[in-house]
């Protein structure tokens, strides 16, 4: 029988992968993709907790929906920033975007 | 009923049922969708342009698309030099599968629906948004600048038109208080004081659906004069046929959803004799759906193509504000009357 621990283990693995992507990628868009994986892991936890621990008011679903919405906002602003950076610096690699460094 | 049925004790039976249903829907899509609609499109365009159209294969050219499909089957599959092999093969399958999945929530007749999901119209919007990814990756994987441009245009276009489409769906959901397509059909006809709102939503839906299906006057992704054939320039026989299947499948699905949401689905103005409720429903549903398809084809062969900035401007500056205001007014009306 599939229970809460299965979902939690899966989502922790997904979170770890996302974190690995964020830490090792140079390209800003790829870092954003890593962040999306981490957000998905968190959402999976929320929905799993709703079913197995706290079903009142479907709170976890509310949280998951808010996170999905905020992820869309974050992607829109982040990608706008990336496009702007690319236009000015002709690179989207975060280790080359260092104009503020003395 | 949710998707939970798959998890019941007799899930093997359920699985077999789903596979059979998928096969039936796919056959309907291939025959009633692609095969028939391609012929209809050619005949209607010929009629509008005062030509005869295909007439040599079979009586009045009825078997023309069958012959064309057979020809496509015999031709060689070519992958362009330095194209991305994997994505190049996946893209058309994704487009065709997305068009196929649309049909899960379309009710053909009372009780004749693959699955009456409680998030029905949301599911439809979600699944049809998968098409964009197939088109975008197909355009990129072809390693051809025209394909890539077609793919990018299509992504911009489809993402922009998804919003007015979603607002039309929201309006229907507000009026009927449900997302299930079956319950929406049952809730029709709408009360008379809501007709103006529903009419506006229907027009917005039709325009947005035409744009989502990439058809003239919104067929910029494949504008043949500027982009050769857009994202599927490089595609050869069977994969090209899959793209066509996806395109006509989603055209038919959009028409069917339009019928379901705005034209009363399987309900007819008067009962037909000898057919029983299911037969009646089926006949009326298909009649209405194909009437909508005919209307869209008529538009296609009558109007010229938009420019890309006009196209995006129409979505963001006209359709979106109009549908938002419409939703506001309709919501207010519903509350006041209650």
């Amino acid at each position: 029988m599939i229970g809460l621990p299965h979902y939690l283990v899966l989502s922790s693995l997904l979170f770890g992968m996302g974190l690995f992507g964020v830490l090792t990628r140079r390209n800003a868009v790829a870092i954003l993709m890593g962040i999306e994986l981490m957000l998905n892991a968190a959402n999976l936890n929320f929905v799993a907790f709703t079913k197995f621990v706290d079903p009142t008011f479907v709170r976890g679903h509310v949280a998951a929906l808010v996170i999905i919405t905020l992820a869309a906002c974050e992607a829109a602003v982040g990608l706008a920033l990336i496009i702007n950076a690319y236009r000015h610096l002709e690179t989207v690699n975060v280790d080359q975007v260092n104009l503020l460094k003395g | 009923m949710g998707l939970g049925g798959l998890l019941s004790a007799v899930w093997q039976v359920e699985l077999v049922r789903m596979v059979v249903l998928a096969a039936v829907v796919f056959t309907f899509l291939a025959v009633g969708g692609a095969l028939f609609l391609v012929l209809a499109e050619r005949k209607i365009s010929a009629w509008i342009q005062a030509r005869v159209g295909p007439k040599h294969v079979g009586p009045h050219g009825l078997l023309q698309t069958v012959a064309d499909t057979l020809k496509l089957l015999y031709k060689e599959n070519i992958v362009p030099h330095r194209a991305d092999r994997v994505l190049f093969s996946i893209a058309p399958i994704l487009v065709a599968v997305a068009a196929l999945l649309d049909w899960v929530v379309i009710p053909f007749a009372p009780g004749w629906v693959v699955r009456d999901l409680n998030v029905g119209i949301l599911y439809f919007a979600a699944v049809s948004s998968l098409t964009v990814i197939g088109i975008l990756t197909g355009g990129w994987a072809s390693n051809n600048k025209y394909s890539l441009l077609g793919g990018l245009r299509s992504a911009a276009q489809m993402v922009s038109y998804e919003l007015p489409l979603a607002f039309s769906l929201l309006l229907v959901a507000t009026l009927t208080g449900t997302l299930s397509t079956v319950r929406i059909v049952e809730a029709q006809p709408y009360p008379a004081y809501l007709y103006p709102s529903v009419a506006v939503a229907a027009v917005v839906f039709l325009v947005a659906a035409t744009a989502e299906a990439n058809r003239i006057p919104f067929d910029l992704p494949e504008a043949e004069a500027e982009l050769v054939a857009g994202y599927f320039s490089e595609y050869t026989p069977m994969r090209f046929a899959l793209f066509q299947l996806g395109e006509y499948g989603s055209l038919l699905a959009s028409s069917a959803l339009f019928t379901t949401l705005f034209l009363g689905g399987w309900k007819g103005p008067f009962p037909l004799p000898w057919l029983g409720p299911v037969g009646n429903g089926l006949v009326w549903f298909l009649l209405k759906t194909y009437a909508v398809v005919f209307f869209l084809m008529w538009v296609r062969w009558t109007y010229p193509r938009f420019r890309i900035d006009q196209l995006l401007g129409l979505s963001w500056k006209v359709l979106l504000p109009v549908s938002m205001m419409n939703l506001l007014v309709a919501g207010w009306l519903v509350v006041v009357v209650r």
Partner: protein, 164 residues
């Protein structure tokens, strides 16, 4: 093995393989396309957890909008994301260690905590329940979210606009 376990394993495999490709693939377009099975797999898990509404929204927004946006930006900045550019920085061993340690820690914690039984049965599912939750107990979260959407809408337009 019952149907639920089978479905869970298939979806979990889809999520993990897709996720690995997202962070590992050298070709960024491949990475972005690999997001699709990952996100669809998560949507499938939501269906298993009786959250059909969340699943539909996940597909609509994540797959239909965010992934498309990401692909769009990758294709627009093709010059800098081409295959000849090094995609990985020098922190790979460190990151492996950190992520491994984090996951291990999470597992230790997760598997030790005695998660109590559900506080009540899951209410019969309909999208209306989520809507009512949003408009009654969590209306503040709802309003703040819509404010954030407005702010990011304006922000994205201002940032991405070409200066005259």
């Amino acid at each position: 093995m019952n149907a639920e376990a089978l479905a869970f394993c298939a979806l979990a495999a889809m999520v993990l393989v897709g996720g690995a490709l997202v962070v590992y693939s050298r070709n960024l377009v491949h990475a972005a396309v690999s997001l699709v099975p990952t996100l669809l797999g998560v949507a499938g898990l939501y269906v298993l957890l009786h959250a059909e509404f969340v699943a539909a929204i996940q597909i609509l927004i994540y797959v239909g909008a965010i992934t498309v946006l990401i692909l769009f930006v990758i294709l627009l900045t093709e010059g800098a994301t081409g295959l000849r550019v090094r995609q990985r920085n020098e922190q790979v061993p460190l990151a492996l260690g950190v992520c491994g340690a984090l996951v291990a820690l999470l597992w230790v914690v997760l598997l030790r905590v005695p998660w109590g039984p559900a506080a009540g049965p899951l209410p019969p599912y309909n999208p209306g329940a989520v809507g009512r939750s949003f408009l009654m107990p969590y209306v503040l979260a709802f309003e703040v979210t819509s404010l954030v959407i407005l702010a990011s809408l304006v922000g994205a337009i201002v940032i991405a606009r070409r200066e005259e």
